[in-house]
């Protein structure tokens, strides 16, 4: 009996985490206790927990500051590691690291998703020899993450800091959700930056959630609070299979939301005028099914998961309302990672092209737009999931290539009747070909000459001519586009081929 009592008391103490004052501190910041987070995350609660008694011979280190185990989300098994910031600020000791490594190994063996609920001050310097440099030290966590990447989904929910080496946990996840105000990521703290390089900067500016989700691109989703972050993770996983061997679940389809304007009315005749691509996306996908990724980062390209007749689909769409829908280094990176994510887990890709091309000018050339664009092309090219490319209005130059143009083996390249496909737009082309001729003409004759050449050019790239040459596979009525996509994604469902045999390609990173 006494033994039972001892066990009961020990369990209660460990489950309650760190000292009361740290619980209170967390509460003030709007942070939940780690075990409450897990209860909200899982359908029920964590079902099995590992090394609950880790480091119990030391005082004040319940579970060694991390909870690891398996539970269910949307009925599916998922592995988790969750820092307890009431225990030494969630810092990593030797047992903390070993627990994280073990649950990663479990996720790999079971081939189920791995979730990282991060809220940690980083390494316990006092324990560095035991937890930092050795074979099963912290480096192994990242090594495992890299090995797991593309085999099982890896999701990071960032509730607090993720400092120095710890910042690589989010970096190697498929997706990073950051809670505004509390989450941060940085290699060196503001205090260290001031000491070492003399920079004075706030934490928010250098490593805050808002900055990472809109400027650096290290964060994917900005959540207002922890509850929202947790609900996002549950929703996100519903689009994914458990691992790379399986296909995502097929839910019962829903029609799209209803709108006053039809697709045809939505798209302006003037190729140069902006329109809102979200409006088109919402007319093509099942109602309320858009789960956007990197909304605030590089908004000239929209990426998100959606359902079309209940099927998981990754949408990649140019947004003419932001920067004209032109591709930049950041938007090319955003696209590359998203396509790899979808391809890894057998989620078909839908490209909605309305693109004047890649940006030109000194600023972007110096930023390496060529290699960033090449990265996007490589990821798109390698994707072997069903790919449908829709030319909504225009696809000029390498923009056509980047948006899964015909040469990149889309299963279909469709065009709306007003679509233009060309090396460049009419204005630029006429200028490129006839600049000298135009300069020689008397000024009053120039406008009519230019107009005539524009018309000739447009005839030359007429969409019926391109369909006749079998550049595109079909011209689709705007209001029938959704039905066409439903049919085609259904037909291409069992596509199965391997891109090529090799160890791996060499990325133009």
């Amino acid at each position: 009996m006494a033994e039972n009592q001892r066990l009961k008391e020990a369990k209660e103490q460990i489950a309650s985490g760190g000292l009361e004052k740290y619980h209170e501190k967390n509460e003030e910041k709007g942070k939940m206790f780690v075990r409450d987070r897990l209860e909200k995350l899982f359908d029920d609660n964590i079902d099995v927990e590992d090394a609950f008694f880790a480091n119990n011979q030391e005082k004040g280190l319940p579970a060694d500051g991390v909870v690891t185990g398996i539970g269910r989300i949307n009925g599916e098994k998922v592995c988790v590691m969750a820092n307890d910031s009431t225990v030494k600020a969630g810092s990593w000791g030797a047992h903390t690291v070993e627990k994280i490594i073990r649950i990663q190994e479990t996720a790999l063996k079971l081939e189920i998703p791995m979730l990282y609920l991060v809220d940690s001050a980083g390494a316990r310097i006092t324990d560095q020899v035991e937890m930092f440099p050795n074979r099963r030290g912290a480096g192994r966590i990242f090594h495992n993450q890299i090995k797991m990447s593309g085999r099982v989904p890896q999701v990071c929910l960032l509730f607090g800091p993720s400092a120095a080496g710890g910042a690589y946990i989010p970096a190697f996840c498929d997706i990073v959700v950051m809670v505004d105000g509390n989450a941060s990521m940085y290699l060196g703290s503001p205090r260290m930056a001031e000491k070492v390089i003399g920079e004075k900067v706030s934490l928010e500016e250098m490593g805050g959630a808002n900055m990472h989700c809109s400027v650096s691109g290290c964060g994917d989703v900005l959540a207002e609070n922890e509850e929202e972050a947790i609900q996002f993770a549950r929703r996100y996983l519903s689009y994914f299979p458990a691992n790379f061997r399986s296909k995502p679940g097929h839910e019962e389809g829903k029609g799209p939301a209803s709108f006053e304007k039809s697709v045809e009315e939505l798209i302006p005749d003037n190729q140069n005028a902006p329109f809102d691509m979200y409006e088109l996306i919402n007319r093509l996908i099942d109602e309320d099914s858009f789960c956007e990724i990197k909304k605030k980062f590089a908004p000239e390209l929209i990426t998100g998961l959606a359902r079309i007749d209940g099927r998981s689909v990754g949408v990649i769409a140019n947004q003419p309302r932001a920067k004209g829908g032109v591709l930049f280094p950041d938007s090319a990176d955003k696209a590359a990672k998203f396509m790899q994510l979808c391809d890894a887990f057998n989620i078909p890709l839908l490209f909605l092209a309305d693109i004047p091309g890649f940006m030109i000018g000194t600023r972007v050339e110096q930023a390496g737009i060529i290699r960033h664009g090449a990265k996007m092309l490589a990821a798109m090219s390698e994707a072997t999931v069903p790919k449908i490319s829709v030319i909504v209005r225009k696809a000029y130059g390498a923009g056509l290539y980047a948006m899964a143009g015909p040469a990149f083996e889309p299963d279909a390249c469709l065009a709306l009747p007003s679509a233009q496909i060309a090396v460049m737009g009419p204005e630029a082309a006429v200028n490129a070909v006839y600049a000298n001729k135009i300069a020689e003409l008397p000024v009053e004759e120039r406008p009519s000459f230019i107009k005539e050449k524009h018309e000739e050019y447009k005839e030359n790239i007429d969409i019926y001519r391109l369909a006749s040459e079998m550049v595109i596979d079909d011209i689709v009525q705007p209001d029938q586009l959704r039905d066409e996509l439903v049919k085609r994604f259904d037909m291409y469902e069992d596509k199965n081929f391997s891109f090529t045999e090799r160890k791996h390609g060499i990325y133009p990173v």
Binding site: N272, P274, A322, K323, G324, V326, F328, M359, G361, R363
Partner: protein, 69 residues
Amino acid sequence: MEVKASMAGSVWKMNVSQGDEINQGEDVAILESMKMEIPIPAEMTGKVTEVKVAEGDFVNEGDILAILE
């Protein structure tokens, strides 16, 4: 608040003058770049205290077009 060019291009239309009131979401200016119209909406409702560029000017990404208060 500074209204900045979202990308390099030329100022095609400047929709406001000094002293104008503008609502959040309304276009302060429209740039022309890559043969596209690039609207630059106001991120807040306010009064235009200064216009920094003229129509036809080349602006680089991040250049200030106007100041709102």
